[in-house]
Symmetry: C2
Subunit: 344 residues, 2 copies
């Protein structure tokens, strides 16, 4: 690259995904066992009969979690969810997680035990083994590195780049709840700090709070899809936000997309709370993130079959490359879906 430019480029200029693409542009595969490299939910490694999936994540205090309103047990639970969700998003079955923990001296053993209690609970619920890890001292708060390992039969692997024009865009669950849950927790924290209100008023919003603090992965739906022999052409777990994650699939599959405003599932609590906050509920639904739902595409001919699965909603369809990415309003108006920049 041309280092003669005097101006150093800031990371914001590139944006997170641009930077990854830029940094890994010259990476060539050496080993035959490396099937899927950079850009998908997990690395895909040929291990003989099946494929081994490996995903890795970094959770940083103050960026990915705030210990003021995230109990450590929930944080441990969520760290596991985050990692195994990437394995599920490739249609794989998670088998193991490993935790690399960085903690400063402000934490005591009981707190780390709480964190591990959450890790254990998630492992138990999703039938994965805590298979290793490390603890290291940190100068600045808590850092959690989570690695998940899983397997998938070769024929069942679903990547991000397999969507085709006319494929149906499907989702599990609903969107925006986790983000609104976080807004509520943040509002109550501010009240606590400013006005010494010690009892946060969270009643009536148990669902959105739960979605923020203890997310779950729609594994039963994924199992049902396999049982019904509905193999998605592409899939991603919604962690960055429905819009951003849909654009990932479009970019990697070289398609456009059209989703319908009225079809995006939003829970009643999310809508009610968004109104309280004076925002359009579609904003958290599209850009909130941390939903841990699955976004996937299926061939158009499976339209009748997918209707039988109650936990899946069709929200739109893929379009040919170059025809843009749009959300269509009830009045037929089209708004371009824009990518989020550097966002966590």
């Amino acid at each position: 690259m041309d280092k003669s430019e005097n101006r150093k480029r800031s990371i914001e200029e590139f944006g997170k995904f641009g930077l990854i693409t830029h940094l890994t542009r010259n990476v060539k595969t050496i080993n035959k066992s490396t099937i899927n490299g950079i850009g998908d939910d997990s690395a895909v490694i040929d291990s003989g009969k099946n494929l081994t999936l490996v995903s890795t994540d970094l959770l940083l205090e103050g960026i990915h979690f705030n210990l003021i309103y995230t109990p450590l047990k929930h944080l441990g639970y969520k760290a596991v969810i985050r990692a195994i969700s990437d394995i599920c998003a490739m249609n794989g079955t998670p088998g193991q997680v490993m935790i690399a923990l960085g903690i400063s001296s402000k934490f005591n053993v009981e707190q780390v035990e709480d964190l591990y209690e959450g890790i254990r609970l998630a492992c138990k619920k999703y039938e994965v083994d805590l298979a290793g890890g490390d603890i290291t001292s940190s100068l600045t708060g808590m850092t959690i590195g989570v690695t998940a390992v899983g397997t998938v039969e070769k024929k069942n692997l679903v990547k991000r780049d397999g969507a085709r024009a006319n494929d149906l865009i499907c989702v599990t669950g609903d969107f925006g709840a986790s983000y609104m849950g976080l807004q509520l927790l943040e509002r109550e924290r501010k009240l606590f700090v400013k006005e010494k209100v010690t009892q946060p008023d969270l009643s009536g919003f148990e669902y959105v709070i739960g979605r923020q603090l203890k997310p779950e992965i729609p594994v039963s739906t994924l199992t049902e899809l396999r049982k019904e022999e509905i193999r998605p052409t592409s899939m991603i777990d919604v962690t960055d936000g429905l819009a951003s994650d849909l654009l990932h699939i479009c970019r990697l599959s070289a398609t456009g997309c059209r989703i319908f405003y009225s079809k995006v599932p939003i829970d009643y609590e999310t809508t009610r709370l968004a109104e309280e906050f004076n925002i359009d509920p579609m904003i958290p639904a599209l850009n909130g993130g941390e939903d841990y739902e699955m976004l996937f595409t299926i061939p158009l001919e499976l339209v009748e079959k997918i209707k039988m699965i109650e936990t899946v909603k069709v929200i739109g369809h893929m379009t040919p490359s170059g025809s843009g990415n749009y959300i269509v309003g009830d009045d037929g108006s089209e708004v371009e879906i824009s990518a989020q920049g550097w966002k966590e």
Copy 2:
């Protein structure tokens, strides 16, 4: 556990290894594919014909590296070395690495490129693929999560717990150089800060500096051992320090050990620099760490065979459980090898 105690226990009380053991004491394996869980260099996962090895590490700015004297290219290189070294220590062949990077806005794109240049160089040299990863924003400096994946034939797997009494204790390379290299860099940094000496005087100490900034893994020796059908009974890569890592093997294998002062390989530069710093060179050799050499045990009957491998030195032997862990001086005096506490 009894939470009625008013006193919260500090992490230092437990020590790093005690804390991991404590936190994972109730972890039971759920999946049949999980072979080796917590406590070894890598997680071991049965993937059919071969075993899949996965290791994960967290490198934190200010703890594991100081950007004042670690060029980012070297840091990237070292991050890969650190991760794949864990795969090599189980007698496996590394195939893939994944990098999860946390960076604050103080870094620019060119710096991250330098880091990735080092990552790429190490990947190329050790024939591993950069198979994935993520970049995330950080509030406080740089955090690097590195995950390595490798394979090993079932019959070739070497764990930490297989050493038996009378086994020979063997090492590759020499010890303490990396630590002394760090001391030298630190001394020059202080001179720079206090006395504005801008040209650090590192001449004559290229070896120790190189060992600190660009460590290598003794893969050719490991290949030779396999070729000569010398299968270690236990193995570990020396990152915490020769003493600490030997004690890991003794603890997990339920043996004692005796190593000989005069047999521990120390490079001339390390000795010379230790003298300049007025310390016994055996201290960095035993407790310095970051040597990235292999420490392993072999059955006594292979004594003649191991002598043929020039890059391996026998430094002692394992003893029955309960007979203690000692270093034997030239005069026959015995000093107990003590464990390091919370140490990175």
